[in-house]
Amino acid sequence: MSEVTADTIGSVGPAEVAELELYHAHSWLTKYVFCQDAKVIAIQYSLTAMAIGLVALVLSWLMRLQLAFPGAFSLIQSENYYQFITMHGMIMVIYLLTALFLGGFGNYLIPLMLGARDMAFPYVNMLSYWVYLLAVLILVASFVAPGGPTGAGWTLYPPQAIMSGTPGHEWGIILMLASLIMFIIGFTMGGLNYVVTVLQCRTRGMTLMRMPLTVWGIFTATVMALLAFPALFVGCIMMTLDRLLGTSFFMPSVVEQGQLLNYSGGSPILFQHLFWFFGHPEVYIVALPAFGIVSDLISTHARKNIFGYRMMVWAIVGIGALSFIVWAHHMYVSGMDPYFGFFFATTTLIIAVPTAIKVYNWVLTLWKGDIHLTVPMLFALGFIVTFVNGGLTGLFLGNVVVDVPLSATLFVVAHFHMVMGVAPIFVVFGGIYHWYPKMTGRMLDDTLGRIHFWVTFLGAYAVFFPMHYLGLLGIPRRYYELGETAFIPPSAASLNVFITVAALIVGAAQMVFLFNLVWSLSRGKEAGGNPWRATTLEWQTPQTPPAHGNWGKELPVVYRWAYDYSVPGAEQDFTPQNQPAPGRATVPALGQTA
């Protein structure tokens, strides 16, 4: 890298842009379908992710209906319930959140925010989307396969995942594993692009420390995902072989319905290690882009520079590194050595430090800011509250002695939904409300947006707050029905009904959002190029929506960091990154400085 140290800040002159060999679409098919433009790929990724996400939303309704009214619906048998749980979790974590943050936001924002024309390898980028789509289709195919999708739980723990007691053990599990393998291959193609683009394709003046935090978040998350997904890949391949060829990577000697199976000598714990070596970084793969995006939303809508930019960057990098040495905190009850548990509890609590730094910095950015309660800002604030909430229960669960009794109760479900379900999805919504004007040239409807926010925000709390309480009562997760149990009071059943009603309402509110997306496409208010008066480069494009190649003849030159809001003495309350310093036009021209 040719980064130069601070004391040798020199003049590199105005941008001289060579004619780039850009990919040009020649037909409708290559412009909208098999397109190599990162912006189109981003939209393809986002729409696919949202479509499959809707399936997962409906599955959560069905689960909630069963929990509130056990046995009332004949289409929800116990095996269906397990299938719904599994597919809901898998889709939401991997096919929706990971794909939307990295494939959707990453593809759209990285080149634009860095002042690049496109990704480093556009063809591979296009391939990445199509492999992702294939993965989604394989996943969907498992719904119509004989025996239905797998019901092994989203963690797919062997041996039960491939034994005949588990629904979908015939086809469902094979399709699930095949789909994950395809997803990882597709993601690796995309991830290579995001990383190399950030490293290589920044425009002039865009040093790493001038990158918006959104790019920092997506970049670090991508690096983590590239290193974490291979663990899931290895686990999936081995389990596929166990299922298809009868190998015993994960399968011990086991008796099924009175018959000794042919497996022997495998280790289920090995799978847990592989799964969580991927699974824990996955939490931050979803959270880091959210951290980055929310930083930019807060700064822009509070008209104030982000507090502690350097610390924010260091915290992102630090969280990324630490998240690789905490995985076994998901395995406290797997019979591990207590010293291991102690080690992982310690690292888990250490990771709270950089995370807390970020929360403080968001709050301090808001402090005395000129807060505009726009819809993106509302979602950003909702994120902070929810993330703190989920993070605090994470401190409970990170401690071995507290975790053991709470393990596999609804407390865990409430915790991870708060911290990596609701909180990141708020950022997804905030991001969409924020960047939709750039993507389409029109604003999303404000009233519908506010309805969407308040119903979703209050509804999410109505769903997950009582769930903590149910968890403390000891109600186990993944149970099809509770039946008559001495330690569960009858009031738990009425609370379950309440949660279900809230969940149905929250789900319905998302339809308002989808309607808004479609309706505003043609009826929304004209946005102009920079409706939020933001500083980052994507708002400074010559056209809105940005044309092919993003910029005009010349690439923008970056003169300042991304957060020059309300600079004292400046004409406007924001100064775009590509605006040079005023009044210093006497700086020597190119060639006159050493």
Binding site: M1, C201, M209, A231, L245, F324, I325, W561, Y563
Partner: protein, 244 residues
């Protein structure tokens, strides 16, 4: 999980070193440039493809480190001299001579590509072509040899389902073989370019990429071989001692 942790530690050291050169201590809010004077980031002199390969090798290295980790966790080594191990997961397969031949083939292949790289530097087109051809042929011979080894094992009754150690052998060699096969596509494309008369200058990048990838695959193979033959047993024992 010791192999992957070592691998991640190496990556962490490298990333730390790289980050330490990125002016992370800069105070960007104080550095506003004016026209004609832009804080020097003028783009990287390294081609994107090289960085791309580097990132890919980190990912592939991670994959193999995980496979090695799983192997080390599972394999049982009886350290008492002369004893026959009794667990179910133990190194049950012999090391056929053919594996040595295959290893030699891969070494030849890697060496040939290194020669191609040197020849590109000297602008000797014919030498580049010959070296690439030798590299391709010997890599194909390696793959064919690996398949033969599989056949021999199956004929001798070492089925993948028989014992986790057998299964690990097939998976490790299989995934490595797939990486070689995918690399052969890249080498094939480069060789085709020579055939169509590309000048050595235009081949420089492709040949460099292929060579680095080939060396990587050789190193991975040597590690796999060491694990499978038992030379790395002492290392595994040390790893286990470290992991309490």
């Amino acid at each position: 999980m010791i192999a992957i942790i070592l691998f991640m530690a190496v990556l962490a050291v490298f990333s730390g070193w790289w980050l330490s050169r990125q002016r992370l201590m800069a105070k960007p809010w104080l550095e506003v440039d004016s026209v004609g004077g832009v804080t020097a980031w003028v783009g990287s002199p390294v081609p994107a493809a090289k960085v791309g390969l580097g990132v890919f090798l980190a990912v592939a290295g991670c994959l193999f480190a995980l496979l090695f980790s799983a192997y080390i966790m599972r394999i049982e080594i009886d350290t008492t001299p002369g004893a026959v191990a009794t667990g179910t997961v133990l190194r049950a397969m012999p090391v056929p001579r053919l594996l040595w031949v295959n290893t030699a083939m891969l070494v030849v292949s890697s060496g040939a590509l290194q020669c191609a790289h040197v020849a590109v530097g000297r602008r000797e087109r014919d030498a580049v072509r010959d070296a690439l051809l030798i590299g391709t042929t010997s890599a194909i011979a390696f793959l064919a040899g690996q398949i033969l080894v599989w056949r021999q094992f199956v004929d001798a009754g070492y089925f993948a389902a028989g014992n986790p150690a057998n299964a690990f052998f097939y998976v490790l060699t299989g995934i490595h073989g797939m990486h070689v096969a995918a690399g052969l596509v890249a080498v094939g494309v480069t060789t085709a370019k020579v055939w169509r008369g590309a000048t050595p200058e235009r081949l420089r990048l492709s040949v460099w990429l292929c060579t680095v990838y080939w060396h990587f695959l050789l190193v991975i193979w040597l590690m796999t071989f060491a694990l499978l033959t038992g030379w790395a047993d002492n290392f595994i024992v040390i790893c286990r001692a470290l992991a309490v």
